[in-house]
Structure formats: structure tokens, C-alpha cells
């Protein structure tokens, strides 16, 4: 087990950084997928049916390092769970924080229906407590912001299943080490 300080120290090594990105996909994603399936109380065979895959494939997907993920596979899984899929480049500090904070026992992503109920509840609460007009971003605006921020060649990717995306400008590892880390 490594502490955050140890992880940050290792991130100074480029080989480790590259491996860390891979590991977050190969180890982190299987736990996310299993947590989402169990949250919905589905069997592997039910998820297989919803994704158009075979049950042994789902079994492999849920094992650490058991499957190679493609964006298409993740898109199908996200569709089955009815959640969004965020694929974007991010600074290592964010990936380290995400890794540190991830707990498969508490990881939850609400499906669209549940997410919508939460949004509507939040909106009605905000409308009654404040006179400030609410701002909402369309998916097109969100996508444009994301692409504008994603032009740095020295950024690193992460994949996460998310109900609502939160945008952070990608920052290179060197800049982060000089600053926040």
C-alpha cells in the first residue's frame, strides 16, 4: 500500500507515470464496473445481455488486468448502466487524487433517471433560496470548453464513469510538480 506522498514521489519517474495511467484503467475500471453492476443488483449475465457481450467477457472485464478496454466497450457499458462516460486528459495530481479517493464499496454513479431527479431537486431548492439566475451549460458548450482545454501535448488521460462532468484544465506534470504537488 502506498501513501499519497509515496505516490507523488514515484510520479517523478516518467516510466512510473506512464504505468500509473495504465494501471488506473486496468485495475481501477474493473472495480468501478463491478461496483456499478452490484449497485444495480445485476448478475454478470444480465450485464452481458444489456451490453451485447458474453458473460465470460464481463467476468474478464471485472478482473484486475483481465481485459483490454476499448472506448467502444466502455461506451456500451456506460449505455447499459445509463451513465455518462468521461474520457479526457487530466493532470497527474487529479489522477492521484482520484485514485486515493476511490473506494469500490462507496463508489456510486446514478443512472440518468436518478440523476435527473437529483438535478430537478437541486434546481427547485436553488430557485426557492436564491434570486440569482441559474446558469446551465449545454453539452455542446461543455464539449467546446473541454476541447479548448485539452490542447497540451503533455497531459495524461483518464477514463471515468460520471453522472455529471466536472471540467478542469489539463496541466502538464512538470507544471503540477512545480506547483500543487
Amino acid at each position: 500500500m502506498s501513501t499519497r506522498a509515496q505516490k507523488i514521489a514515484r510520479l517523478r519517474n516518467k516510466e512510473y507515470r506512464d504505468a500509473f495511467v495504465g494501471s488506473q484503467i486496468n485495475v481501477g475500471l474493473p472495480f468501478q464496473i463491478r461496483a456499478l453492476r452490484e449497485q444495480r443488483q445485476w448478475k454478470q449475465s444480465q450485464l452481458a445481455e444489456k451490453t451485447g457481450m458474453l458473460q465470460p467477457r464481463i467476468s474478464a472485464i471485472e478482473a484486475p488486468g483481465g481485459a483490454k478496454f476499448t472506448i467502444e466497450t466502455l461506451r456500451r457499458l456506460a449505455s447499459a448502466f445509463d451513465v455518462a462516460l468521461v474520457v479526457r486528459f487530466a493532470p497527474f495530481s487529479e489522477l492521484a487524487d482520484q485514485s486515493e479517493g476511490f473506494n469500490p464499496d462507496t463508489f456510486q454513479v446514478p443512472s440518468f433517471e436518478d440523476d435527473l431527479r437529483l438535478i430537478e431537486k437541486k434546481e427547485s431548492t436553488s430557485a426557492t433560496t436564491t434570486n440569482v439566475p441559474m446558469m446551465s451549460y449545454t453539452s455542446r458548450e461543455t464539449a467546446q470548453t473541454q476541447y479548448r482545454c485539452g490542447s497540451s501535448p503533455a497531459t495524461n488521460s483518464r477514463i471515468l464513469m460520471f453522472p455529471v462532468g466536472q471540467l478542469v484544465s489539463p496541466v502538464s506534470y512538470e507544471r503540477v510538480v512545480g506547483g500543487r504537488l
Binding site: M1, S2, K7, A19, S23, S59, A63, G66, F102, P104
Partner: protein
Amino acid sequence: MIRFLDFVSAAGNNQITEWYCRQPVDCRVMFDDLLDILAKKAEWGYPEFKNLGNGLGEIRWKFGKVQHRIVGCDWKSPPGYLLLMGCTHKQEIYSPPGAIDTADKRRRGLLFERKGSVREHTSPEDCAPTQ
């Protein structure tokens, strides 16, 4: 949070650190991340963990085309999960051969003969490059 412990031989060699440093960096990072997740997980089960019986269990992951295993057991003092032996597994055969027996001998040696010791697990930062 579950604490991980390493088996240290009577000669003072940390067998887990030595195994760790022999692995390619990608495999090491997967192992680190897997332990980070398991430390927070209340219940371990298939596919990342398998009970081998006789008090032993194995933490499982795949890197490349190789199934990796760390054989271990629950430990009382200090409390935690003791990592006894790193190995690979292919078609019911462990490598190095007799890995499970070795892990069991280490556990029994610690329990009944005070042979060796345990140390809190930390992944070393100064492994020599393997690739």
C-alpha cells in the same frame, strides 16, 4: 483500512520487496493500486482474491498474458494481511514451483518457530530498472 505486512526471512531479507523489484514497472504499479483498493474494501472475493484453504489466500491480477499472485494470510500481531510469497499461475501450475507450500512453510515458521519476522508493507521506491 486493512494494513499489509511483508514476510521477512530469518536472514533479514524482505521476500516481498525482493519479489516486487523483480517485476516490470507496470506490474508493480498494478500491484500497488490493487493493494490500495483492497485496503479500503470491506470484503474481498473473486476475481481479485481467492481463498486457498488452510488459512491461505491469494491476491490475483493479470499483467500482459501472465496471471500474477501474492499468497498471504490474515495476521494477528500486528494486525493485518501478511504477504508471504509472490508467484505466477498458469494452467493450475504455480511458478516458482511449490509456491503455495513455500508460503505455508513461511507462515508456519513464523507462527510456531519464530522463524523470520513481519514488517509493514511499503513498496520500495528504489528498485533497479528491470526493462
